[in-house]
C-alpha cells in the first residue's frame, strides 16, 4: 500500500527513488535496553510538527525517530529480526503478514486508556481480530477522482467505471490487478475479499468487456491523467486525488455508493522491542484527543480518533476526499491478504485481460 503527501511533488515517489539508490540499514543509536528511551519508526511527514518534542517534555522519555518510505522497506528491515525498534506504523495488509510471520508483540490494552477516543467502528478489524496487535493511526480509501465540470453529476457507482459505456474513452483504472478486481467485485455488490473462482472469472469478464471504454490502466499516475484532461474519471488513492485537488479546483473525489477499499495505518510494537513500556506510553500519547488533532491538522489524512476529529475544523472534516460519505464508508472494506494461490489466479486473470 502507498500514500502520497499533500505536497506538489510527491515525496513518496521521490523517496522511493532515493531508497532505490541508497538503501541504508542504519540502526537507531543506542537502541537496546536504554531506560527512558523509545525508538519510533514512522512514515515520512506523518506526524505533527511538534508532537515528538511535546511527548519528550511531557513524559521525560527520549524519542529516537526514524523514517521509512514504504511498507516493503519496513518489512525488509524487520524480516531478519528487529534491529531495535519499539513502535512501527505498518499498513493493514502488512500487519496481517507480520502477524502470520510472528513479528508483532500483543498490545497491553490496559496501558492505553486513550483507546477510548478511537471511533468504535475501527475496533473490530478483520486483519487483526480484537485489535490484539495493532491500533489505528490514520486511514484512507480508494475511490474515484473526477473532473467536476466535465460530468453532469458525480459518479455514484463503480459500474459507471467498470460496467458501462456511459463514460467511454474518459476512464482511467489503476494498474494494480488485485485492486481493480476488488472494485469489480464491489460493482457486482460483493465483498471485495470474496475471491472465489467464480467471482474472479466474473470480474475478469467485466474488466475485459470494459477494456475498450478505458483510456488507461494507469501505473500510479491516474491523478496526472486527470489533471492533464486526458481522462475525466480515475480510480485512485484518496491521497493522490487530494494532491490533485490542491492544484486544480475542478477536481473532485467520491467514494461510490457500493463503498471502496479502506486502508489503515496502524501502531504496532514489533517483537524484540527493547522499550515496551515506553512504546505503550507513546501509543497512548498519540491517541490523545488534542495530540491526534494536531497530527491530523498537519498530515491531512483521516483520523480514526473520534475525540480528535471533534476538535477539527470544517475544512478538514467536511473534505470529501478525506472523509467520504458515511454510508459509502460504512460499505467500504479493508483488504485481506488472500494467500499465494489466489494471488496467482488473480494475476493469471490479469495477464489474460492484458493479452486480449
Amino acid at each position: 500500500m502507498h500514500r502520497s503527501t499533500r505536497l506538489p511533488i510527491s515525496r513518496r515517489k521521490f523517496l522511493a527513488g532515493a531508497a532505490a539508490v541508497g538503501i541504508t540499514f542504519k540502526l537507531p543509536k543506542e537502541a537496546f535496553g536504554a531506560d527512558g528511551k523509545v525508538n519510533f519508526y514512522n512514515w515520512y511527514t506523518y506526524i505533527g510538527e511538534n508532537t515528538i518534542e511535546e511527548f519528550e517534555q511531557a513524559s521525560g522519555i527520549e524519542v529516537q525517530y526514524d523514517l521509512f518510505a514504504d511498507n516493503d522497506e519496513l518489512f525488509a528491515k524487520l524480516r531478519g529480526g528487529n534491529p531495535g525498534y519499539d513502535l512501527i506504523v505498518p499498513t493493514n495488509d502488512y500487519v496481517e503478514r507480520m502477524i502470520i510471520a510472528d513479528m508483532l508483540l500483543p498490545l497491553d490494552h490496559s496501558k492505553i486508556p486513550n483507546k477510548k477516543n478511537i471511533d468504535p467502528t475501527f475496533m473490530d478489524a478483520a486483519f487483526d481480530p480484537a485489535r490484539k496487535f495493532s491500533l489505528p493511526y490514520m486511514w484512507g480509501t480508494i475511490g474515484v477522482g473526477y473532473r467536476i465540470s466535465a460530468l453532469d453529476e458525480a459518479p455514484s457507482s463503480w459500474n459507471d467505471l467498470m460496467n458501462s459505456d456511459k463514460y467511454a474513452g474518459r476512464i482511467a483504472l489503476m494498474s494494480e490487478p488485485t485492486t481493480v478486481m476488488q472494485m469489480a467485485l464491489k460493482a457486482m455488490g460483493k465483498s471485495l475479499n470474496d475471491f472465489t473462482d467464480e467471482n474472479i472469472a466474473a470480474a475478469e469478464k467485466m474488466i475485459l468487456d470494459q477494456k475498450p471504454n478505458i483510456v488507461a490502466f494507469a501505473p500510479d499516475n491516474g491523478q496526472d491523467l486527470l489533471l492533464a484532461g486526458e481522462v475525466d474519471l480515475a480510480m485512485e488513492w484518496n491521497g493522490d486525488i487530494l494532491q490533485a485537488m490542491d492544484e486544480d479546483d475542478d477536481i473532485g473525489f467520491v467514494l461510490p455508493d457500493e463503498g471502496g477499499l479502506l486502508w489503515e495505518d496502524t501502531l504496532c510494537i514489533p517483537k524484540g522491542a527493547p522499550n515496551v513500556e515506553n512504546a505503550h506510553a507513546l501509543i497512548n500519547y498519540l491517541l490523545d484527543a488534542q495530540v491526534g488533532a494536531d497530527i491530523a491538522d498537519f498530515v491531512y489524512y483521516a483520523t480514526p480518533n473520534a475525540a480528535a476529529r471533534a476538535l477539527m475544523s470544517e475544512d478538514y472534516t467536511g473534505n470529501p476526499a478525506i472523509f467520504p460519505s458515511a454510508e459509502a464508508t460504512a460499505k467500504s472494506e479493508v483488504s485481506i491478504y488472500p494467500g499465494q494461490e489466489v494471488t496467482r489466479k488473480i494475476d493469471e486473470a490479469w495477464t489474460r485481460i492484458k493479452a486480449s
Binding site: 494498474s175 494494480e176 490487478p177 484532461g229 486526458e230 496467482r344 494475476d347 493469471e348 492484458k354
Partner: protein
C-alpha cells in the same frame, strides 16, 4: 610481437577485474534466477528448488504466447523503423564535412544525457490527446478551415465537421514510436561506424563503371555496411523485446508486452519462480537470434573466401 594469450599472468591481470565483475554480478545472479525457475514458493518469502517444470509449462498458456508474439512483433517493427530511419542519417553523418560531423554526432548522443523516464514523460506530454502534437494539428486544422471559408469552399466540409485529435497513446503505434525514439541512437551509431570505415573510392569506382546510384547502393554500399546494419538490428531488437516502461506509460497499460508480466511476478504477484522462467525463456530467444547472426557471419566469410 608477443601474443598476450601466451602470457597467462598478463591475461589475468588485465581481464581479472572484468571477469570477477561478470562472475559476481552477472553469472551468479543469473544462476540463482536459473535455480528459481525450477522452484516453488513455499512461503511468502521462501523459494525451494524442486526441479519442477511447472513454471516453464505455464509459458504455454495462450495469453503468455500471445504476449510473447506481440512483443516479438513490436520489437521487429521497431527495429525495422530504426534501420529505415537510421541508415540515411548514418549516411549523412558519414559523408558530412569534418566540421559538421562532431556536431551531428553530438545531436545523436544528446538524448543520453537525460534519464529515460524523463524523456518518456516528455513524450507523454507531446503525444497525449491533449498533447502538444494534437495542439499543433488542431491549430493547423483551424487555419486550413479559415482558408477554405475565405475562398468560398467552407460549406463543402472538406475537412470534416471538426478536428478529431489523433489517438497515439495506448496504441501499438504509440509503443513503437516510444521504442524507436529510445533505440534510434543505438541503431545509427554502428551503421555510421561501418560506413565511416568504408573505402569511399569503391562507390566512385562503381559509378565510374556505369552503375546507377540505385545499383551502387544495392550492390556496393549496403553489402559493405551489412555488419553495421546487423549490429544495429540486434542492439535495437534485444532491448526492445524487454521493454516494460514504454508499454506502461506510452501504451497506457493497453498494449502490454512480456516484460510487464515478468515485472509483475517479481513485485505484486510475488511469484519469482514463474518470473524467472519467463526471463530465461526471453534470454534463450535472444541467444538463438545471436547464434543465427554468427552463422550468417560465418557463411558470409566462407562466401568471401571462395
Amino acid at each position: 610481437m608477443q601474443d598476450i594469450r601466451n602470457r597467462l599472468g598478463v591475461f589475468f591481470a588485465f581481464s581479472g577485474p572484468t571477469l570477477l565483475w561478470l562472475i559476481l554480478f552477472f553469472v551468479v545472479p543469473l544462476g540463482i534466477i536459473w535455480l528459481y525457475s525450477f522452484g516453488e514458493n513455499v512461503s511468502l518469502t521462501r523459494i525451494e528448488t524442486t526441479w519442477t517444470l511447472d513454471n516453464y509449462r505455464r509459458m504455454l498458456e495462450p495469453e503468455i504466447i500471445e504476449l510473447m508474439r506481440r512483443s516479438l512483433w513490436l520489437a521487429f517493427v521497431s527495429t525495422l523503423v530504426c534501420l529505415l530511419v537510421g541508415f540515411p542519417m548514418a549516411l549523412v553523418i558519414a559523408t558530412a564535412s569534418h566540421g559538421a560531423k562532431p556536431w551531428l554526432l553530438l545531436l545523436i548522443m544528446l538524448p543520453f544525457w537525460t534519464n529515460l523516464l524523463i524523456r518518456t514523460y516528455a513524450l507523454l506530454n507531446i503525444l497525449g490527446t491533449r498533447g502538444r502534437l494534437n495542439d499543433l494539428l488542431g491549430w493547423l486544422y483551424e487555419r486550413a478551415d479559415q482558408l477554405l471559408h475565405l475562398i468560398g469552399l467552407g460549406r463543402l466540409g472538406l475537412l470534416g465537421d471538426q478536428f478529431t485529435p489523433l489517438k497515439l497513446l495506448g496504441t501499438q503505434t504509440g509503443v513503437i514510436y516510444g521504442i524507436v525514439y529510445v533505440s534510434l541512437p543505438f541503431a545509427i551509431l554502428p551503421i555510421y561506424s561501418s560506413l565511416e570505415r568504408m573505402d569511399k573510392s569503391l562507390l566512385e569506382a562503381s559509378m565510374d563503371l556505369g552503375a546507377s546510384q540505385w545499383q551502387t547502393a544495392r550492390h556496393v554500399l549496403i553489402p559493405l555496411a551489412l555488419p553495421g546494419i546487423m549490429t544495429a538490428a540486434i542492439i535495437t531488437f534485444i532491448p526492445a523485446l524487454g521493454q516494460f516502461l514504454t508499454p506502461d506509460l506510452l501504451g497506457r497499460g493497453q498494449v502490454d508486452m512480456i516484460a510487464n508480466v515478468i515485472e509483475r511476478q517479481f513485485k505484486r504477484a510475488n511469484d519469482w519462480p514463474f518470473g524467472s522462467a519467463i526471463s530465461l525463456t526471453l534470454l534463450y530467444v535472444t541467444f538463438i537470434l545471436l547464434a543465427l547472426r554468427s552463422f550468417n557471419d560465418a557463411a558470409r566469410s566462407r562466401r568471401v573466401a571462395r
